[in-house]
């Protein structure tokens, strides 16, 4: 799949933003006043910034509101609905925390739930696609959710939880890569089943329909950079999990140093998450590539 920057930015930033909103909704940290304002500003900048970035790849962004209508059948529509509900509810909760110094915990719980639901529905947009076997696995939502929770824990300063969540997310990431590598072969789809001619012998793409390229090839057959996949995986893993873990486990005295280390950890985690998300797209093979003798 073509790794569009808008979609990579969207899924990583909003994943982190909604992860932070989840922890804020649960009252972790139970901040009020100006500190709360800063926390919510960061969370909203990430979540809303990500959502805006996602509209850049639309052909008609001005009609994007229509995407709220089909929540009964479409995961993309459900994602839009969950995101708006989460942002509205958490907005009310934030008002209480910032201006009234109070935590309306029921509202916070609902907001936290919808924040996680947003991340889950995002992941289901990819998971539902049978045409991309590497995404069509239970590990896909697990990966999106664990990234979001680990990032959220880091950002919200949940010291006790963050190392565990990072470790869990790292393990899920490894499992996702290991299982994903065999997914296409396991799906059983080949040029033979795609053309129905497989029963007659070995099928080989002889001539493409056109000499030039087309939308399908640009969108679904992305082979550039796949050869560096192993190296990029190591970089992603080190940046997203290993380095942040080391940074937050360093015994540091002094609030300033501690905050600085956490900041570094968050930056490293986000960079790693982006590399991982780039790979998520670049390594995903769509079955339509078979018709062109490509993957």
């Amino acid at each position: 799949m073509h790794p569009a920057p808008s979609v990579i930015i969207f899924t990583t930033l909003s994943g982190l933003g909604f992860g932070l909103l989840f922890f804020l909704g649960l009252g972790q940290p139970a901040v009020t006043g100006f500190v709360a304002f800063v926390f919510y500003a960061i969370a909203y900048a990430l979540a809303v910034g990500g959502l805006l970035a996602s509209t850049f790849h639309l052909g008609h962004p001005e009609r994007a509101w229509k995407a709220f209508t089909q929540w009964k059948s479409s995961w993309l529509s459900r994602e839009g609905v969950c995101a708006v509900v989460a942002l509205l509810v958490m907005g009310l909760y934030a008002l209480g925390a910032v201006f009234m110094g109070s935590h309306w915990s029921l509202l916070g719980w609902i907001g936290a739930l919808f924040s996680l639901a947003t991340v889950f529905t995002t992941s289901m947009i990819y998971t539902q696609l049978k045409t991309i076997p590497r995404w069509n696995m239970e590990l896909t939502p697990a990966m999106f959710l664990s990234f979001s929770l680990a990032g959220g824990a880091l950002l919200s300063g949940a010291e006790a939880l963050a190392p565990w969540l990072l470790a869990i997310a790292g393990a899920i990431q490894l499992a996702y890569w290991a299982k994903g590598d065999g997914a296409f072969a396991r799906s059983g789809t080949t040029l033979g089943t795609a053309t129905g001619l497989g029963v007659r012998g070995d099928v080989r793409a002889f001539e493409p329909p056109h000499t030039g390229t087309n939308y399908l090839l640009r969108e679904f057959v992305h082979v550039v950079g796949r050869k560096h996949a192993q190296k990029l995986r190591m970089i992603a893993f080190a940046l997203a999990f290993v380095l942040p873990l080391l940074l937050i486990l360093i015994p540091a005295s002094g609030v300033v140093i501690k905050h600085f280390l956490v900041l570094l950890a968050v930056a490293s985690h986000l960079a790693g998450a982006m590399v991982s998300r780039w790979l998520f797209f670049a390594q995903a093979e769509h079955v339509v590539g078979l018709y062109y003798g490509k993957r």
């Binding site: 052909g59 539902q128 049978k130 053309t195 329909p209």
Partner: protein
């Protein structure tokens, strides 16, 4: 409305005969022409006369080579367009309701004024039957020529999809695949019509007729051939000497 109908009154679709298709691409051109001049946004081209041309097509013809375990390889031309699936994933993923399947004839269509061009439906189609138009920013796909098949302004013979009307080899057939007594259904039954990627669970309405088995060439069919066997296998005499000497150099 992007929920799929429980069932459709008819299942209009195409039957494509891989045995007779000669790979002339006439259907590709007539489709592009008809659908650029009629229903919906035109099918645009980018850099049409430049070094890297590309454009929107609703029907493309691939060519495949099949090598059986024994015997000769066979070249098969393979037209591909929307299969108007009964369980169309492209419809249910659509967030706006732009993609829908009609109850009356099962045709899968895009309402272009609702489409936001998110591309998700193209991601969900296993067959590459949907293409986002780069000029209009909306999703284009085969409409089964809805603007022809019911069009009373056209002579009756023209009330079929443009590709079917055009095919000079008669490799494309149009009809109701939901009616077991229709010509297309009989053709499918007779020739073992098949689904593409049945494992995807899309239940395509369009069917493909596999190529008929080719004639086989017997080991020895020419009774004169033995008489034409070369007389001298090894050159003798002067030629033999020349051959050996040249070999040594």
């Amino acid at each position: 409305m992007t929920q799929l109908p429980q069932s459709t009154e008819r299942k209009m679709g195409l039957v494509i005969d891989l045995d007779t298709c000669v790979g002339c691409h006439a259907c590709v051109i007539s489709c592009k022409g008809w659908n650029t001049e009629n229903y919906g946004a035109p099918l645009s081209d980018q850099d049409a006369y430049g070094g890297n041309p590309s454009g929107t097509f609703l029907n493309r013809v691939h060519s495949y080579e099949v090598q059986p375990a024994d015997g000769h390889a066979q070249l098969i031309h393979f037209p591909k367009s929307c299969l108007h699936c009964e369980d169309a994933p492209c419809v249910t993923v659509c967030p706006t309701g732009a993609s829908y399947k009609r109850v009356e004839d099962g045709i899968v269509l895009v309402n272009e004024s609702d489409c936001i061009g998110c591309g998700l439906c193209a991601w969900s189609c296993p067959y590459g039957a949907r293409e986002l138009d780069m000029a209009e920013g909306v999703m284009k796909k085969c409409t089964l020529c809805v603007d022809r098949i019911y069009n009373e302004n056209l002579p009756e013979v023209d009330r079929v999809p443009s590709c079917v009307r055009t095919c000079p080899a008669g490799a494309r057939h149009f009809g109701d695949l939901g009616d077991p007594d229709s010509d297309v259904s009989k053709l499918v039954a007779e020739r073992d019509g098949m689904d593409l990627m049945p494992e995807m669970g899309t239940k395509p309405v369009n069917k493909y007729l596999p190529p008929r088995p080719k004639d086989t060439v017997e080991d020895q069919i020419d009774i004169l051939a033995p008489l034409l066997a070369p007389v001298a296998e090894e050159p003798k005499g002067f030629l033999g000497w020349l051959d050996k000497t040249l070999e040594k150099i």
